[in-house]
Symmetry: C2
């Protein structure tokens, strides 16, 4: 059995706040962590604690951002932040840029987001190294940590929460060479455990509930003693991508 | 709080079996359904009950299947089944065909799969109309139903379980026009609830555990009195696809 329990009372986080302490307090109010717990944390509170927030008033848009903004009637300063965060722009449409980030994630606006940023003039960026963020929280809290964000998907409507950082949890359950319930060898089965944990966690809260952290319980079989390869292991090398 | 409970003791299913009765029995052993439950069912047992299984000995491969099979050293009969199930082949590589199915799903081998098929010579196809399958189970069992399959994703390693059929559950939680925790209006937030429920369910079992059905509890706010639009609502119209 799997359960996902949103932690109550995580306050609004600001740059320099001790996020681990705030999460430990919130977990305490929910009965505390148990061995084998996986803590899924929406990246926004991590980004805020790490100072990965931009004030649009501080941004001077360049030519490309101003041209795109004029074309799509968008804020050129926000587009400049997106361009700065993007390693590559794959597509542009109606002011939304589908980008590959420096981490290798492909997502809308390179992960730059104004929702739940905390002010009309603010945008939140992705953490510089979400796996490192996960490792730091794991070291402080003593539980496996998944850093999450909601990504759009090709061919599907709506966003699903996925893992952009991970420590102490096997991100991928590799069944290749193992057998199915009928003893037949599996050849292509790799389960994206950390992504599915992120999605399960997301069901336990609302977009307005101010509950960035969710304990997912029942994944003991995927919890390991080391930090492990992180969510970087979930980024498919470009030359292997058959879908994209 | 969300919980996902795999139902024990669902036997191997054959064409014509009363799947609803088998699932009701299994649910009974787990304490029975509760109001607001969502039953996630791996499509394979549904396909089997509906007779959507092919014996490769019965398949005569055509020219294209034989050419692909020769090129990639694969079974031409299985490739013929894939080609028959595909509305469109988007990519081909090493004998894996990325296809758009008649339902509009984009997935490997048009959903044709030999794992857990029950015999070396058997492949399982997707249900002809997985939303109709979900509606039929909902009518028989009195709970919301999600029909699931594991799909590969562009740019990501590993598969995640998604909803290919749905009845009685809001497939998409549309936050557009509603506000975040700071009162700021959300413009692009649509949560793929049914896909995330499928992923949560998948965490509660293994690929060899013979547990095709999982109760997901705690989604009452998305459970509705009607069948609703089904998982068809999760298929993005091709002309709107910015990612793909």
């Amino acid at each position: 059995m799997i359960s996902a329990i949103a932690l109550p009372g995580v306050p609004d986080v600001r740059a320099g706040d001790d996020l681990a302490a705030l999460l430990a307090e919130a977990a305490g109010r929910a009965g505390g962590f148990r061995p084998g717990d996986v803590l899924c944390v929406a990246h926004k509170v991590i980004s805020k604690a790490e100072g990965r927030v931009m004030q649009l008033a501080d941004v001077t848009p360049g030519d490309r951002a101003r041209a795109l903004a004029a074309q799509w009637d968008k804020d050129a300063r926000k587009l400049q932040v997106v361009l700065d965060e993007a390693a590559e722009v794959l597509r542009a449409d109606e002011g939304r840029l589908i980008c590959r980030t420096r981490h290798g994630f492909v997502c809308a606006n390179a992960g730059v987001d104004a929702s739940n940023a905390g002010g009309e003039d603010l945008v939140v960026l992705l953490p510089l190294d979400p796996d490192a963020s996960a490792r730091a929280l794991r070291a402080a809290l003593g539980v496996a940590v998944v850093v999450t964000d909601s990504f759009g998907r090709p061919w599907r409507v709506g966003q699903a929460e996925i893992a952009i950082g991970c420590a102490g949890l096997t991100p991928i359950d590799d069944w290749r060479g193992r057998t199915d319930a009928h003893g037949r060898e599996l050849h292509a089965t790799l389960v994206a455990v950390a992504d599915q944990a992120a999605s399960a966690a997301d069901l336990a809260r609302g977009k307005d509930s101010a509950e960035p952290a969710v304990i997912v319980r029942g994944l003991e079989r995927f919890v390991v003693d080391e930090d492990g390869p992180g969510a970087a292991a979930l980024v498919r090398p470009r030359e292997q991508d058959l879908f994209g």
